[in-house]
């Protein structure tokens, strides 16, 4: 019961934070330059990590599935299998997990340090709402940049799969590309972009909430950083299941 109460309280706090940040967007001053700065930090800063993850995920996918496809004489479906897996699931989820580890922890640590050194109190005392100045730009930047990072990870994943398919299994590159082109649908692409939008919201709101609710000095900053990464990663994975179900039924995507 206590655990349930704690969960509901956390959920309420995170929801309040999102609402406060959202309504803050309609009041001046607006922190456009801060949002752009966050986009640069989150988007450009995370690009190498996300591209590497995408590339090697595509490569390992083909490495593991190609022998099975070959067994059933379905080598010409290799591109489709990689592209579908990456665009529908692995691209959005792995990008979100990488960004959660890199950016979620940084947001939580930064805000947590500001709390323990009274900078958040100082900000409020100087007439600035931290939800508008700190939370809203980070959530918006994450919601905007995560879909773009996911698209980049998807492309590098497919390219990685193609390189491994032709390099290791001597699969004709044209056959791989053709399989990718005819294997993925518009619904897959739309679904693959909708997911990171929500994941960005989850990572941003959980990290900001954990950072702003830091207590207990520098030890507390470490604790809230760890909690932020763990919680946002778990919520991303759980939410991915329900989001996949919703997207599949909305776009009538067949899972087989």
């Amino acid at each position: 019961m206590n655990l349930l109460k704690k969960f509901l309280f956390e959920l309420q706090e995170i929801t309040n934070l999102i609402i406060a940040a959202f309504f803050g967007l309609f009041r001046s001053p607006r922190y456009f330059s801060e949002t752009v700065r966050q986009m640069d930090l989150i988007g450009v800063g995370s690009l190498p990590v996300v591209l590497l993850t995408g590339f090697f995920t595509g490569g390992v996918l083909i490495l593991q599935t190609y022998p099975t496809l070959e067994y059933y004489s379905l080598q010409d479906q290799a591109g489709k299998s990689v592209a579908t897996s990456i665009i529908r699931e692995l691209g959005p989820v792995l990008s979100a997990l990488m960004v959660s580890g890199r950016i979620g922890s940084a947001i939580s640590a930064e805000l947590g340090s500001m709390v323990v050194s009274q900078q958040i109190d100082a900000m409020r005392a100087l007439g600035t709402d931290p939800n508008r100045k700190l939370v809203a730009p980070r959530i918006i930047a994450l919601m905007f940049m995560l879909p773009l990072l996911t698209v980049a990870a998807d492309i590098f994943g497919i390219v990685g799969g193609g390189i491994v398919a032709s390099g290791v299994f001597s699969l004709d590159y044209n056959s791989y590309i053709t399989s990718v082109r005819f294997g993925i649908t518009t619904q897959d692409l739309i679904g693959g972009i909708i997911k990171p939008l929500f994941f960005g919201l989850i990572i941003g709101s959980v990290s900001c909430h954990k950072g702003l609710s830091t207590t207990g000095g520098t030890v507390g900053v470490g604790r809230s950083t760890t909690n932020s990464v763990v919680l946002s990663s778990i919520v991303v994975i759980i939410f991915d299941f329900f989001l996949s179900r919703a997207i599949n039924s909305i776009f009538d995507i067949k899972t087989i």
Binding site: P29, Q118, Q119, D121, A122, A125, D129
Partner: protein, 301 residues
């Protein structure tokens, strides 16, 4: 509207009866707004879980007055300041700023009230990512003031705290005392008429602590600022209660001891013990008290 006028009249009458001296009333004739206290606490209670932090605290800070809040660590001194700024809400009681009841104000309503209050934090609480210039200019940048005006104001404030040379430095390049002084300069931007000092001399060497106290005295005597000065150092109480700032013939600010000339130092002491006010009055009365808790505090043993 009728009830509001009625309430104001009652409040004014109470203040006239309980608080004001004849000299205050003479001033009040010229400036009627001075009757209303800058800060007023009325029977404020606050608890965190089962821990009582404030237990029926009542006091007023008049215009141009410095109220020194004394007490042991964890006695509710800093909490009082956080309540004034609306960073915390009391469980019961009323808090009035310039006669305006802010007890149940929302965060958006409090933003307006905070514009007239400056706050100096214990460790300065400077923004690490901003230079001294940007820290001091923070409030003005938020209000979208023209950069030329901002620079003039920032330089004026840094001159006031004697830190003009540090304008381009980052907070991590400053000593503890310099950080506090930048904190003072940041709090003074926009000329707020109320300033809160939250243990501004904690951990500082005596000359630097003295500098911070001199700034508070200058604000009180030359700028007519009302302030709450939270501390547990008796040396600060001595400075604030026995010296006053004035300007000599050369236009320089000088500090003189009470008694050298006729003056009424506008500083009072409020002593907290376990969330309750156990003393409120002038320094002389404070030092003459027989209360064992206060005596222990005064003598430091």
């Amino acid at each position: 509207m009728f009830s509001l006028q009625n309430e104001e009249t009652v409040v004014a009458e109470e203040i006239i009866e309980e608080e004001l001296q004849p000299t205050d009333l003479e001033d009040a004739v010229d400036e009627p707004h001075r009757i209303i206290p800058a800060i007023e606490f009325r029977d404020v209670h606050l608890s965190f879980d089962d821990n009582k932090i404030l237990d029926g605290v009542s006091f007023t800070v008049r215009r141009g007055e410095t109220k020194v809040i004394l007490g042991r660590s964890g006695g509710g001194k800093s909490t009082t300041i956080r309540l004034v700024l609306g960073l915390l809400k009391p469980d019961s009681g009323q808090i009035l700023i310039d006669g305006e009841d802010i007890t149940n104000y929302s965060e958006i309503e409090m933003m307006k009230v905070r514009e007239k209050i400056g706050m100096v934090f214990q460790e300065g609480a400077l923004f690490d990512s901003l230079s001294v210039y940007d820290n001091v200019a923070y409030r003005l940048h938020e209000q979208g003031i023209d950069e030329t005006e901002v620079e003039t104001e920032v330089r004026r404030m840094l001159k006031f705290v004697d830190l003009e040379d540090a304008i381009d430095k980052m907070p991590d390049e400053l000593s503890g005392g310099m950080r506090r002084r930048v904190g003072v300069a940041r709090a003074l931007v926009g000329d707020p008429q109320i300033i809160m000092f939250d243990e501004p001399t904690a951990g500082l060497d005596p000359p630097t602590a003295r500098t911070i106290c001199e700034l508070a005295i200058k604000l009180r005597d030359l700028e007519d600022v009302s302030s709450i000065f939270v501390t547990h150092e008796m040396k600060n109480v001595e400075y604030l209660s026995s010296e006053y700032a004035t300007v000599n013939e050369n236009g320089e600010v000088i500090f003189e001891m009470e008694g050298e000339k006729l003056c009424l130092i506008n500083t009072e002491i409020v002593m907290f013990k376990e969330g309750k006010v156990i003393f409120s009055g002038k320094n002389e009365e404070f030092r003459a008290t027989k209360d064992p808790y206060i005596l222990k505090f005064v003598r430091g043993k």
